[in-house]
């Protein structure tokens, strides 16, 4: 993985010193609330319902075991013993004390981490495919490009006060596991007309109040121009994005109002003027970055079936189910990528305790070359596990509550912190997740349903990506009561689509029953091999809507 050199180290240390001084000035009354707000937000520090919330960047989701141990230490020393992983490869701490935040940042800096630009109207953490470098059909590992973007975007002097936040995701495989089509900019590694690798550049995607799927700005960009092209997009956005209305300030509104052709024309015109300047990436720099992401020392192995023990004995249904659902193919024979489920039914989705993080650090050291990853779906991943060690790993994960065999199923929900923690939320999400887990606790049924993305947000800011859930749940406030609007048919991958509202919102106690009815229609009407999403796309909303609103819930 990428290791800091003196430039990186200097910058994070100077940021810690700067923030320490800003915090001191605020606590001494030298800075007003409003002045300090603008400063702390650029360091990932929000003031939330109960306490400050600190968001720490995990660039493109990659963590060393040392970093995991520091995240555990921060949870234990400065928080209440846990952290919450987000959809954008960050971790959030919900209970830090303001005066201790500089110390947290100093601890992070020691292990080459930071909270720079994890909030505020600037370029946020660059995210990527959690299977980068290990998935079989990848064109190229996107992580060197993510690191190149991370550096370019960190303290970019021109783009630190944008109209609104700006999120970039990079993928290198045909499957899109980073939700790049709902990012401000999506960067896809693609093969060009002459067979060389370069980038397809998309812009204008986003969720929130106005969900929009990103559109192609340029079909093929030669690799050396990545940064100059991004700079041209950001410059047009910085100058022309709306600043008069916060809800219309994202780049998606600019792209929509200009139209993609005019937006493209402006970006290209700007790019022509800067394309061969100082941002041009030379082969030496590209090679240097790639050098940080070379494959680990894989052993020469062949694929085996680890669900059978050494003597051909059966290792049991629980391990089999876990192996089937929580591990995926690896490009190297004899290896699997292993999901660590943070979706245990009685735990808020995406939460991990300090003890779990410490354990994962040990397991990463023992089974996966000392590295772990954070997924967009709020789980963790050990990317390079030998198949013949999967059983031992499962036993260790299972003991720690990290082996819930539900990856990709209904209960592998994406969920924001909701009303319990967030000062923006209209409604609870964690308690609804709990109700859904209680209702759907039969694994045979969940496995029969197959792949279903359930995504839930506690308000229309859509941190839980509800628009792009096969089943989306949005918390709304109706006269002081928590209600939930249900959408179906959304998807966040390469075939991204926005879900359709099925009808009037439902009360909290009706959410699980509503989902049960949607699933009934699916089970009755599906064709073999059809996912829930496919059935919705084929049939439309009508039959689902009719069933949901046919009669009051029995319970």
């Amino acid at each position: 993985m990428y290791r800091y050199d003196s430039t990186d180290k200097t910058l994070v240390e100077e940021r810690v010193a700067q923030f320490r001084d800003q915090t001191r000035a605020f606590l001494a009354g030298e800075l007003s609330d409003d002045e300090f707000r603008h400063l702390r937000l650029r360091n990932g520090l929000y003031i939330q319902r109960h306490a400050p919330m600190l968001r720490v960047a995990i660039p493109y989701g990659l963590l060393s075991s040392t970093q995991l141990r520091t995240l555990a230490h921060i949870a234990r020393r400065y928080d209440r013993g846990y952290g919450h992983f987000t959809t954008r490869q960050n971790i959030q701490y919900n209970w830090p004390k303001l005066e201790e935040v500089p110390d947290i940042l100093a601890d992070l800096a020691r292990v080459e981490m930071h909270a720079i630009q994890t909030s505020g109207n600037c370029i946020r953490n660059t995210t990527s495919d959690h299977l980068a470098g290990v998935t079989p059909n990848e064109l190229e590992d996107p992580r060197p490009w993510c690191e190149i973007i991370r550096q370019w975007s960190t303290f970019h002097p021109e783009f630190t006060y944008l109209p609104r936040k700006f999120k970039i995701a990079v993928t290198g495989a045909p499957q899109d596991r980073a939700a790049s089509l709902v990012h401000d900019v999506g960067v896809h590694i693609v093969r060009g007309p002459d067979g060389e690798l370069g980038f397809e550049i998309l812009a204008g995607g986003g969720l929130g109040r106005t969900p929009i799927i990103g559109q192609v700005v340029r079909e093929f960009l030669p690799r050396r121009h990545l940064l100059s092209y991004l700079e041209a997009i950001l410059r047009i956005y910085n100058l022309e994005g709306r600043r008069d209305n916060l809800t219309k300030a994202r780049i998606k509104i600019l792209v929509k109002s200009l139209g993609i052709e005019e937006f493209r024309r402006r970006v290209e015109a700007e790019w022509e003027l800067i394309r061969d300047g100082g941002l041009t990436l030379d082969e030496a720099e590209i090679a240097r970055m790639r050098g940080f992401f070379t494959p680990p020392a894989y052993r020469s192995l062949t694929d085996i079936d680890p669900t059978l023990g050494p003597a051909g004995d059966d290792r049991g249904a629980a391990f089999k189910a876990w192996y089937r659902y929580n591990t995926v193919a690896h490009k190297i024979p004899g290896y699997r990528a292993v999901y660590v489920s943070l979706k245990k039914p009685d735990v808020p989705p995406g939460d991990a305790t300090d003890a779990q993080l410490d354990l994962l650090a040990d397991l990463a050291d023992r089974y996966s070359f000392g590295e772990a990853r954070v997924t967009h779906t709020q789980n963790l991943l050990l990317a390079d596990v030998e198949q013949n060690e999967a059983f031992a790993l499962w036993e260790a994960l299972d003991k720690a509550g990290l082996a819930t065999p539900n990856i990709g199923t209904l209960t592998d929900m994406i969920c924001c912190p909701g009303l319990d923690f967030c000062s923006l939320a209209n409604a609870g999400s964690l308690d609804v997740a709990k109700l859904i887990n209680e209702r759907f606790d039969d694994y045979d049924y969940l496995y029969d349903l197959g792949e279903i993305d359930v995504k839930m947000s506690g308000c229309m800011n859509a941190c839980g990506h509800h628009h792009v859930g096969a089943i989306g749940i949005l918390g709304v406030d109706k006269g002081g009561q928590e209600w939930y609007q249900i959408t179906i048919g959304g998807a966040a991958g390469a075939d991204a689509s926005l879900g359709s509202v099925i009808g009037p919102s439902v009360a909290k106690h009706e959410v699980a029953e509503t989902i049960a009815r949607l699933l009934d229609v699916y089970v009755e009407r599906r064709t073999p091999e059809e996912r829930f999403l496919d059935t919705v796309r084929r049939l439309g909303v009508k039959p689902f809507k009719e069933r949901v609103y046919a009669a009051p819930a029995a319970a």
């Binding site: 003196s6 430039t7 200097t10 910058l11 100077e14 940021r15 700067q18 800003q22 030298e30 409003d34 002045e35 603008h38 400063l39 109207n121 550096q151 370019w152 960190t154 303290f155 970019h156 002097p157 021109e158 783009f159 630190t160 006060y161 944008l162 109209p163 940064l227 410059r235 910085n238 100058l239 600043r243 003027l273 800067i274 061969d276 300047g277 100082g278 941002l279 030379d282 720099e285």
Partner: protein, 190 residues
């Protein structure tokens, strides 16, 4: 009391007068008013362009005491395009960008374009909502003078050295030191 500001890393008294200040000055002490360098708003410059560009300045229209043309500056608002200044850019010794509030960021682009694309060599001044924590970024975008609240002025010199390294190529005209950079030190070509 004359305005103090940060220019080229030093706290100095501002010899420039805004048009409105010059008007007030002209009434109280007519002597010097015509000689001071004068900052126009964008609208003042546009409205009486012929007068400002062809004559030597305001008032009698006579040359100042030294016989030099009166030095002129102009302030851009966030929505102005720097290209609008181009016909007269050479006439200006100072261009200012006004920051209307804490979230206004167009001035950063205006600064870079003036320095890097249009090769503006004069004083590039940040006015309006400008606080110490913006200075490093502004300086990297080519600003070399800053009108700051007095409470920030004392910290301003050190604020320019908040960071001693940078990733991006940029125009660091306003910084006291040349920063080591990750990417090559070639400013954008055009």
């Amino acid at each position: 009391m004359p305005r103090r500001l940060l220019r080229n890393g030093q706290i100095v008294e501002d010899e420039w007068l805004y048009f409105a200040e010059a008007e007030a000055d002209a009434e109280s002490r007519a002597e010097d008013a015509d000689a001071s360098p004068l900052i126009l708003t964008f609208d003042q410059w546009q409205a009486e362009r012929d007068r400002w560009m062809t004559s030597e300045g305001r008032g009698s229209g006579e040359r100042g005491r030294t016989g030099e043309r009166r030095r002129l500056g102009v302030i851009l608002l966030p929505a102005h395009k720097v290209e609008q200044l181009l016909p007269d850019l050479e006439r200006f010794d100072l261009v200012g960008a006004e920051f209307s509030g804490p979230s206004e960021g167009r001035g950063y682009t205006q600064g870079r374009l003036l320095r890097e694309r249009w090769k503006f060599q004069g004083e590039l001044r940040a006015t309006g909502y400008v606080h110490r924590d913006q200075l490093f970024f502004l300086a990297r975008c080519g600003f070399n003078s800053f009108e700051l609240p007095d409470s920030d002025l004392a910290h301003a010199v050190t604020a320019l050295s908040t960071f001693t390294a940078a990733y991006q190529p940029s125009n660091d005209a306003g910084l006291p030191l040349k920063l080591p950079r990750r990417l090559p030190d070639t400013p954008a070509s055009a």
